[in-house]
Amino acid sequence: MRLTVNGQQHDLHSPPLTSLLTALREELDITSPKAGCHQGGCGACTVLVDGEARRSCLVSLAAVNGATITTVEGLGTADDLSPVQAAFDEHYAAQCGFCTSGFIMAATALIDRTPKAGREEILAALSGHVCRCTGYIKIVSAVEAAAKGDVHPEQVEPSFDPEEAAVLIPGSPA
């Protein structure tokens, strides 16, 4: 099986019915796709297959032989984030981070096929992705901003107001 992953060609030796998720993580050591449920129900393993969002746990290697795969590792770097990555950073749209890769890949695919996606389209496109920290509001805000092009990658540091934190968490040392 041959795959082009994030621009690099690989010949894989995993059995053809191995899931793309397992092959990426365990054979290629590409770990941004997360192994959440292994049955398509959580969205954490979402990657782009030939530019379209797919659950990598539901795709066998045999089914994607010759395909081009993109994961978060292929989007941006810490110094040069993709617009969706920058929006997630700016809007503080990650908590524990486990679901983040899947959301970012699904949002990237959405904005690619619907450049001016509105809130309803964003909600519909992300409906199968689960954030167990329940941080959906900030995730949707981030994707809305990315869809509008309202992203400021230079302001990568999230603003933090100690007094506001003290109000949010009474008695907090912050």
């Binding site: 292994h38 398509g40 539901l58 795709v59 045999a62 089914a63 519909a124 199968g128 992705h129």
Partner: protein, 268 residues
């Protein structure tokens, strides 16, 4: 014989319909892999270790062909491609899971799936039963065409090739869902009217999609929609499962049948 590891499975990837039919043979020992949304979890969790896998994605079995008011849909057509299909199939397709799953799941998988996790699956079955679809399959004894309600009751040993139906003059749809995108539909009712008469299909009222002939007969005999809706219980084989109890489904079913019939009356 079942293989003990995924590495032992033989994967066959036919590149034409004829090759697929030939490789399937009488179906014994063959596991058909379509979009993967149903079988991949089984393999990921080690519940399925197939001996021989028929990978259909390049077998030329996908696509929708319209000929006047008649539509022929290949087994490997994705659920996403059916979102714009004539009603009530379009609505049923749009209600399946989420964007990524619909882009991968196929018509064939939806019709061949067994009840999984003790939950009825196959949201498209009610729509296609209501549309009076005919299913063409291959297997022992060669190719054959039969009504979809007969096929979904016993899909084993057959390779689904295509589904054909006439666009109805009117259609109706009513369903009960849980709010999560990936929950299977609790119960869906589809109704259509064609020059040949009125048809009603049910998903979630039994292990597979069912045709509500008792409702159709009652309406043909002059019963009101309300009276006819109660007759759906004669056709249902409701079971307790992870989504709802049989008791609940029996109470829900006549209400949804009536809503689907009312929706039909709306002239959609």
């Amino acid at each position: 014989m079942t293989a003990t590891s995924l590495a032992e499975a033989q994967v066959i990837a036919p590149t034409s319909r004829a090759e697929a039919v030939d490789a399937f043979g009488d179906g014994s020992g063959v596991t058909v892999l379509g979009g993967g949304t149903i079988l991949m979890p089984e393999m990921n969790y080690g519940r399925l270790r197939p001996e021989r896998v028929l990978l259909l994605q390049n077998a030329g079995l996908s696509g929708v062909v319209r000929n006047g008011s008649s539509l022929t849909i290949g087994a490997m057509t994705t659920v996403a491609e059916l979102e714009q299909a004539p009603e009530p199939l379009g609505t049923a397709a749009r209600n399946v899971a989420d964007h990524e799953i619909r882009a991968q799941a196929t018509l064939g998988g939806n019709l061949c799936v067994h009840a999984g996790g003790a939950t009825p699956r196959g949201d498209l079955q009610a729509a296609l039963i209501a549309l009076g679809a005919q299913v063409t399959t291959a297997g022992k004894g060669g190719e054959r065409t039969e009504p979809i309600e007969d096929f979904v009751a016993a899909p084993d040993g057959r390779l689904l090739l295509e589904v054909e139906f006439e666009e109805p003059t009117r259609s109706g749809y009513a369903a009960a869902h849980r709010p999560h995108a990936h929950a299977y539909t609790i119960l869906a009712v589809c109704a259509t009217e064609t020059p040949a008469g009125l048809r009603v299909g049910l998903s979630g009222a039994g292990r597979n999609g069912l045709r509500a002939r008792s409702v159709e007969d009652a309406l043909a005999g002059g019963a009101s929609a309300e009276e006819a809706s109660q007759k759906a219980l004669d056709d249902a084989q409701t079971q307790d499962d992870a989504l709802a109890s049989a008791w609940y489904r029996q109470r829900l079913l006549p209400i949804l049948v009536q809503r689907a019939l009312d929706d039909l009356g709306g002239g959609k």
